[in-house]
Amino acid sequence: MKDGGFENKKELENSKNQSKYSKFYIKSDDFALAIATVAVAQVCESVGFQSFQHSALEALSAIIVWYIYNLGKTANFNANLAGRVEANVFDVIHGLEELESGLGFAGASDVNRCVANLGIVRDIVHFVSDGDDIPFAYEVPWFPVVKEWKGIGSFWEKGEDPHGEHIPSWLPAFPGPETYAARSSVGNGTMTASNEVKNWLVRVERKIERPLLNFQQQFAHNGNEGGSSHVGGDKGKAKEASNSNPYLAAPLHFGEKEVHVSPVPSG
């Protein structure tokens, strides 16, 4: 039984608050979070659990993600404090101490003792030596995949002469002439006197639209979608672009769609 829309609104707000609370609940991190969930489930299964509540599993995987992140941040901070850019094992051990500071520091008060003999390191050594190693269930690829971004290229790279001394050669080159020169239009059928104006207006529209479309396609190919593995001509890319983006679709031919003709002012 639903109590109108108020209860749903409250639940919606609660779910929004929950998602805002953890900064790792970002869509782009779903893959890593899923891997963490599987790893946590494997560890819990090895400990003795037979089943999990989804919410508990998600909470624990978010916590270990936070643990790794915080440990890295602390180790990096310790390294920077010592005037180093790269962290070493002692920075990591101090970071581990900080994270487990609530449980106390075993052996940390002894000045003459080496850091390797601290309680934390000893516990890790015992953990590794006692239990059998359980490898991760799946083969994890290297992520995130970094796409190669191909720029348009500067004047100097393209070997073109910049038009004028005021344009330095290291600036990106101008787009090709096909992006601003109109293509020859193909005439279809007989043209009557009343259709002449219509055709002229349509040709003007196409003149503006097609170069703009060409430029958009070229920019989309070079600037945004710099996938190095993608091989194909402009037509193939235009088709692919039109499938994904309706604004990059090929222009309509004359007569395909009725266009409203506005009256031309006299004079």
Partner: protein
């Protein structure tokens, strides 16, 4: 001072023990994959080309999860033992060990992590029933 040679020998042993341990980590396969650990360490700004440190962090994280899970397991078993054994069916049903938010929040509280589960979602008839009898 007589302490110096002894302490320097001791330190040398400790250093070698640490380096031996780090070398042995390369033979150990932690459950948490290196790629995941490297991804989040890169996000935090951690820089180190040494793979052994990545393994150390992975093992430390796995140890943390194992400790939390074992504490939650103790809570779960204690809760099941405290249940009044009225019927044999109920006993058989309770034998399944389920990781619940209640046990998890209790075990995480000792580590300084406060995880609060929402009291109830009033959207199903089984709301408010003991979590052991309702499996997900």
């Amino acid at each position: 001072m007589n302490h110096n040679p002894q302490s320097s020998d001791g330190k040398h042993d400790d250093d070698s023990a640490l380096s031996d341990f780090l070398a042995s980590l390369m033979d150990y396969a932690p459950t948490i994959p290196d790629e995941l650990v490297e991804h989040y360490l890169a996000k935090s700004g951690f820089q180190c080309p040494d793979v052994r440190l990545i393994r150390l962090i992975a093992v430390a994280t796995q140890k943390f999860v194992a400790e939390v899970a074992s504490d939650a397991l103790q809570h779960c078993k204690a809760r099941q033992a405290a249940v009044v054994k009225d019927k044999r069916e109920k006993q058989q049903k309770d034998k399944r060990l389920i990781l619940t938010m209640d046990d998890l929040s209790k075990s995480l509280r000792e580590y300084g992590v406060n995880v609060k589960h929402q009291e109830y979602f009033a959207d199903s008839p089984s709301t408010g029933i003991d979590p052991a009898s309702r499996e997900e």
